[in-house]
C-alpha cells in the first residue's frame, strides 16, 4: 500500500495541482505589479486545484468529442505544462517574483497552521475516504470506472447495471478526475478513493481557514476555526472521511468562493479609497472576479447544489446588511451591496440558463407540480417575509422622523414574531428533540391548513447529527452574536444561520428552496450553518475581557 500511496500522490500532484500552479504562475507574471493580487500558499494551493480540475475537464471534453479517448489527456496535459514552463521562463523578468519565503514561514501562526494541515493529511492518509460501510461512494467509483472502461467522458453503459444511461444524471467533473488518475496510474478506484480523502480534507480545511481569515482578519480565530472544523459534528463539518464525494469536493470550492467574494470586496474597497472613487469599475479586482466565475463553473460541474447555496448565502447576507447595519455603516458599504447584487443577478441568470439548457423536463415538472399550484403560498409567504424585513429600513426612517421610533420597533418586532410563528412548523422543531418516527432520505410531504402542498426534511437523514447539540447551540449563537457585536463576520454568520433556521423549520421556505435544489438535496442547506466559524468567533469574543463593546 505504501507504493500505491506514493504512486497515487505523484499522479494526483500532476493531475490536480501542477498545471493549475503553472498557469497561475504564468498569469501572475503576465499581469502588472500593480493590478496583481498577492496570494499566500493557501490561496495558491486551492487555486491550483481549481484551475487544474477545470483544465482537465476541458481537455477530457475535447478528447471525448474528437474521439481520441481519455487516455490521451495526460499527454495533452503534459504539453500544456511544458508550454506553460517555457512561457514562464520567457517572461521570468515580468510580474511578481517567486519568493520561497511565501511558502516556508516560521511565524508562529503559519507554522501552527502547517502543523495542523500536515497532521490531518497524515491521519487521513491512514483513515482514508473509503468508508467501512456500504455507502453511495461505490456508485461514484463505478461511474469513474465506467469512464475508464469507455475511454471517454460520455459513458456508453450504466455503470452499475450496464443498460440505459438515462438514469445517470450526475455532474461528471469529479468522476473524470478520478478516472484520469486511475487510467494513468493503473490504480483501482477504491484505492484512489481511499487516498484522495486526505487531499480533499486538507483543501477543505484550507478553504475554511481562508474564509475565516478574510472575514475576521485574525489568525488566531482562523486557526481555532479549523480545529473546530475537525471536531464539531454540528453542521456536519467534520465529515472528513466523506471528503472524496463529489459534493464534498464541491464544498471546498463553495468556501473558496465565499473567500474570493469577500477578498474581492475588500481589495476593491481599498482600491477605491486609494484611487478615484468616481470610476470604481477601473479598480475592480478582475483577477479575483475571474477566479470567482471559475468557482461557479467548478461547482456546477462537481455537484451543482453548491452554486445555489452560494446564491442563497450571499442573498441572505445582502439582506442582512441592508436591514441590520446602522445608517452610517450602510453608506460605507454601498459599493459592496452594489457588487454583490450584480454577482447575484449574474449567478441567477447563469443558473436559469444552464438549468433550462440541461434540465428542461425537470424544470417543467417542478413548476407544474402540486407545490407550485394555488394558493401559491410557497411563493407568497417567503416573499412577504423578505419584503417585511426589507421594509424595516424605510419604515424606521419615517418613524424616526416623526419621533415614534421605539413604538414602531416594538410593533415591528411583534409583527416579525407573528410571521415566524405562522411560517415555522413548531411540531417539526419538537420532532428534532422528541422523535416519534424514523424518516428517510426523501423529505416528508403534507398539506398545510390552506391545502397547500409543502415539504419538510426528516431530521433522521443526517440532520439530527448536524443539529444535536452543537448544531443547535451554534444556530442560536450564529443568530444571536450579531446583536452583541455588529461585525461583517457576525453579519455573515447571522445571515447563513438564519437561512438554515428558516429553511429547515419553515415548510414554505423549504418547499421554495426545492425549486432551486432537487427536493432530496434541500437538506444540504444545513452546510451553511458554519458551526466552526461561529464557535471560533464566539470564543474569541467571549475572552475579549477588556473589550468595551462587550461590557
Amino acid at each position: 500500500m505504501i507504493l500505491d500511496a506514493l504512486q497515487f500522490y505523484i499522479h494526483s500532484a500532476f493531475f490536480l495541482f501542477l498545471s493549475g500552479y503553472l498557469i497561475q504562475k504564468l498569469a501572475t507574471q503576465w499581469c502588472s505589479q500593480s493590478s496583481c493580487v498577492r496570494s499566500g500558499w493557501c490561496e495558491i494551493l486551492v487555486t491550483s486545484f481549481l484551475i487544474s480540475i477545470l483544465l482537465n475537464a476541458f481537455l477530457v471534453l475535447m478528447a471525448s468529442l474528437i474521439g481520441i479517448g481519455l487516455h490521451v489527456t495526460k499527454y495533452l496535459l503534459l504539453a500544456v505544462d511544458f508550454i506553460a514552463l517555457i512561457l514562464i521562463f520567457i517572461f521570468r523578468e515580468r510580474g511578481v517574483k517567486f519568493k520561497i519565503s511565501r511558502y516556508i514561514s516560521w511565524k508562529r501562526d503559519d507554522l501552527l497552521l502547517k502543523i495542523i494541515i500536515i497532521t490531518v493529511f497524515i491521519a487521513m492518509t491512514f483513515q482514508g475516504g473509503l468508508l467501512d460501510m456500504l455507502a453511495d461512494g461505490w456508485w461514484h467509483m463505478s461511474y469513474a470506472a465506467q469512464m475508464v472502461q469507455d475511454d471517454s467522458l460520455f459513458i456508453q453503459r450504466h455503470p452499475l447495471l450496464g443498460g440505459d444511461i438515462k438514469p445517470v444524471i450526475y455532474p461528471p467533473l469529479w468522476h473524470l478526475q478520478l478516472a484520469l488518475i486511475s487510467e494513468s496510474s493503473g490504480l483501482s478506484l477504491p484505492i484512489i478513493w481511499h487516498f484522495i480523502g486526505a487531499i480533499n480534507a486538507v483543501l477543505f480545511l484550507i478553504a475554511v481557514y481562508l474564509l475565516t481569515l478574510q472575514l475576521s482578519n485574525d489568525k488566531c480565530t482562523s486557526l481555532v476555526s479549523i480545529l473546530f472544523t475537525l471536531f464539531i459534528v454540528g453542521g456536519l463539518s467534520s465529515y472528513l472521511r466523506v471528503s472524496p464525494w463529489p459534493g464534498n469536493a464541491s464544498y471546498i470550492v463553495l468556501f473558496f468562493a465565499f473567500y474570493l467574494t469577500f477578498r474581492g470586496l475588500d481589495e476593491w474597497k481599498n482600491q477605491i479609497k486609494l484611487s478615484n472613487p468616481e470610476s470604481p469599475l477601473k479598480t475592480l479586482p478582475y483577477q479575483l472576479l475571474f477566479l470567482l466565475s471559475l468557482t461557479f463553473v467548478a461547482m456546477v460541474g462537481l455537484h451543482g447544489v453548491e452554486v445555489v447555496l452560494y446564491l442563497l448565502a450571499m442573498g441572505a447576507y445582502l439582506l442582512s446588511i441592508s436591514v441590520l447595519l446602522p445608517e452610517d455603516q450602510l453608506q460605507d458599504c454601498r459599493w459592496e451591496r452594489w457588487a454583490l447584487s450584480i454577482v447575484l443577478v449574474c449567478c441567477l441568470l447563469f443558473g436559469v440558463i444552464l438549468a433550462l439548457y440541461l434540465l428542461p423536463g425537470h424544470i417543467e415538472s417542478v413548476f407544474s407540480g402540486a407545490r407550485a399550484r394555488s394558493p401559491y403560498l410557497n411563493f407568497i409567504f417567503p416573499l412577504l417575509t423578505v419584503l417585511y424585513l426589507l421594509a424595516y429600513r424605510f419604515l424606521s426612517r419615517y418613524f424616526k422622523a416623526i419621533a415614534y421610533f421605539r413604538l414602531f420597533q416594538s410593533l415591528y418586532l411583534l409583527g416579525l414574531l407573528l410571521i415566524l410563528f405562522l411560517i415555522i412548523d413548531i411540531r417539526h422543531i419538537l420532532d428534532l428533540f422528541f422523535p416519534e418516527y424514523i424518516g428517510r432520505h426523501v423529505p416528508k410531504d403534507s398539506f398545510d391548513q390552506f391545502h397547500n402542498r409543502v415539504y419538510l426534511p426528516f431530521w433522521d437523514h443526517q440532520l439530527r447529527g448536524a443539529m444535536i447539540w452543537s448544531g443547535v447551540i451554534t444556530l442560536i449563537l450564529g443568530v444571536g452574536m450579531v446583536f452583541i457585536r455588529m461585525t461583517r463576520m457576525n453579519l455573515f454568520l447571522f445571515a447563513t444561520s438564519s437561512l438554515v433556521l428558516l429553511t429547515l423549520t419553515s415548510p414554505y421556505f423549504f418547499t421554495l428552496t426545492s425549486f432551486l435544489i432537487p427536493l432530496p438535496s434541500v437538506y444540504r442547506v444545513h452546510l451553511l450553518l458554519i458551526s466552526p466559524l461561529i464557535l471560533a468567533v464566539f470564543y474569541r469574543q467571549l475572552f475579549s475581557w477588556n473589550d468595551e463593546s462587550l461590557n
Binding site: 461505490w138 463505478s142 470506472a145 447495471l161 477504491p190 454540528g234 422523535p435 443526517q462
Partner: protein
C-alpha cells in the same frame, strides 16, 4: 438493557419487556438484533438503537423501554449452542451510574421461566437450545422500581457540584463583581447543570443513556441562560465575567461530546443515527478500511477480470456487487434499492429462492436477469458482506453454475 451473547451461527436475538402501564410480553414491546458467530454485545436503550457491536452493528431504533417489570431474552431462532455471558438492566435516571443503585444484574437472579433451554451455570448461561423457540424470562423485584434512592444520589451529587461551581465563580470574579455575585449565583449555577450532565453522560454512554433527562436539562439550561441575559439587560448590566464563564462552560459542555466522539472516548454517536464511519476518530486505522472494503480482494478481482467476459452480467451480494462494478467491466443485478431501475434487478423473494434448493425456479430467475456469472464472497470479517444469504449458502448454487475461479475471498461461478 444490555447483554453479551456468544453464538455459533447467524441468527437473531430478541428482547421482550413489559411495563407497569403496559403489561404482557408481546411484539409491540420487543426488538431484535443480528447475531453473528462469535461474541456480540446487544444494547437496547430508550428511543435508541438495538445494536450488536464488537463484531457487527445493526441500526434499529426502538420504542422507549421505560422501567421493565419482566424481561424476556430469546437468544436464537433455532436449536444450537449459545452463551449468555452477561445481562443487565441499567436505570437511566442516575447522573452517575453507581452500580449498586442504578443497575440490576439479571444473571445474579434465577430466571422465572426457561423454555427449551438447558440452564448450566449461575453467573452465566452456557446452554444448548432444544427447540426453535428458546427463551428466558426474568421478573425484576418491585423494590428496584423505587426511584427515591436514585433521586437521593442525584441530589447529593448536584449539591457537591454546585458548591464547586460557586467556588469557581468566586475565583474568577473581581472584587466589584463579588459584591454583585449574589445576583448571579442562581443562574450561573444552573448554567453549569447541563454541561456537567453532558460530560458525565458522554463518559458513561456505554453504560447508561437518558434522552428525556438530557433534553429537559438542555431546554432548562437554554431558557435560564436567556432569562439571565434578559435580567442582566433589564438591570442595565452587561456581559460580566460571571456570565461569560457560565456561557463558556455551557457551550463547552454542549460541544464536549463532539470532541469525545472524535477522540475515541465515545464509541457511538449518542444523539441519533449519526454514522460513525463518516467521521475521523482517534484510533481508527487503515485496517478498518481494509477489512470492510474491496481492497483486500484486489488480487481476486484481478483474476476474475481475466476470466469474466467484458460486459457480462453477474449476481452477488449487494456489497460485493458494488466492489466488483467499481473495479471490473462487468455489471450487477443486485444494487441498492435507490440505484435500481425497472426490470433489471433481483427481487428480495428471488434472492431467497436462489439461496434455496429449488433448481427450476432458480433457472427462471437466472434467465430473467440474463445472468452470466455468480460471485460468492466468502469473507467473514467484512460485515457489509456477512449479512447476505448469497455469501453464506455457497453450496446451493452448484446445481446452476460451474466454478471458474476459487480465490482467497471471492469465487467466480459461470452459469451453466
Amino acid at each position: 438493557m444490555e447483554f453479551d451473547i456468544e453464538g455459533d451461527r447467524y441468527t437473531r436475538a430478541k428482547l421482550y419487556w413489559d411495563e407497569r402501564e403496559r403489561r404482557g410480553l408481546d411484539e409491540l414491546r420487543s426488538q431484535s438484533a443480528l447475531i453473528i458467530p462469535g461474541l456480540n454485545r446487544v444494547v437496547i436503550t430508550s428511543a435508541k438503537r438495538v445494536g450488536s457491536f464488537n463484531t457487527t452493528i445493526d441500526d434499529v431504533l426502538i420504542y422507549p423501554i421505560g422501567h421493565p417489570l419482566r424481561v424476556r431474552i430469546d437468544p436464537m431462532e433455532h436449536p444450537g449452542n449459545f452463551s449468555l455471558l452477561s445481562a443487565s438492566v441499567r436505570y437511566m435516571d442516575c447522573i452517575l451510574p453507581i452500580i449498586s443503585i442504578c443497575n440490576y444484574d439479571l444473571l445474579q437472579s434465577k430466571p422465572t421461566v426457561l423454555h427449551q433451554i438447558d440452564f448450566m451455570a449461575s453467573d452465566s448461561v452456557i446452554s444448548h437450545s432444544l427447540g426453535s423457540d428458546p427463551y428466558l424470562v426474568w421478573t425484576i423485584p418491585a423494590h428496584y422500581m423505587r426511584s427515591d434512592r436514585i433521586y437521593l444520589l442525584n441530589i447529593t451529587l448536584l449539591v457537591i457540584f454546585s458548591g464547586s461551581i460557586w467556588l469557581l465563580i468566586s475565583m474568577v470574579s473581581t472584587r466589584e463583581e463579588k459584591k454583585r455575585l449574589r445576583d448571579h449565583i442562581l443562574p450561573a449555577l444552573l448554567l453549569f447543570l447541563y454541561p456537567f450532565f453532558s460530560l458525565i453522560e458522554s463518559l458513561s454512554i456505554n453504560y447508561y443513556y437518558s434522552p428525556s433527562l438530557n433534553k429537559s436539562l438542555l431546554v432548562a439550561t437554554v431558557i435560564i441562560y436567556l432569562a439571565a441575559l434578559l435580567w442582566q439587560a433589564m438591570r442595565g448590566l452587561t456581559l460580566n465575567r460571571v456570565i461569560r464563564v457560565g456561557l463558556f462552560v455551557s457551550v463547552t459542555g454542549l460541544i464536549l461530546p463532539d470532541f469525545l466522539f472524535h477522540l475515541g472516548f465515545i464509541d457511538r454517536w449518542p444523539f441519533g443515527r449519526e454514522p460513525k464511519e463518516y467521521h475521523w476518530t482517534l484510533g481508527r486505522s487503515f485496517d478498518d478500511n481494509y477489512l470492510q472494503s474491496s481492497i483486500k480482494y484486489e488480487a481476486d478481482l484481478k483474476e476474475i477480470g481475466l476470466l469474466a467476459e467484458k460486459g457480462g452480467v453477474f449476481l452477488s451480494d449487494v456489497a460485493t456487487s458494488y466492489y466488483v462494478v467499481a473495479t471490473l467491466p462487468i455489471y450487477s443485478r443486485n444494487p441498492h434499492y435507490h440505484h435500481r431501475y425497472p426490470d433489471v434487478f433481483i427481487e428480495k423473494e428471488e434472492l431467497v429462492i436462489l439461496c434455496s434448493d429449488d433448481t427450476e425456479t432458480k433457472n427462471s430467475i437466472i434467465d430473467r436477469l440474463e445472468l452470466g456469472y455468480i460471485i460468492i464472497n466468502k469473507d467473514r470479517d467484512n460485515r457489509n458482506v456477512a449479512k447476505s444469504c448469497l455469501s453464506r449458502d455457497i453450496t446451493s448454487i452448484d446445481d446452476v453454475a460451474d466454478r471458474l475461479y476459487q480465490g482467497e475471498y471471492l469465487n467466480l461461478y459461470k452459469i451453466k
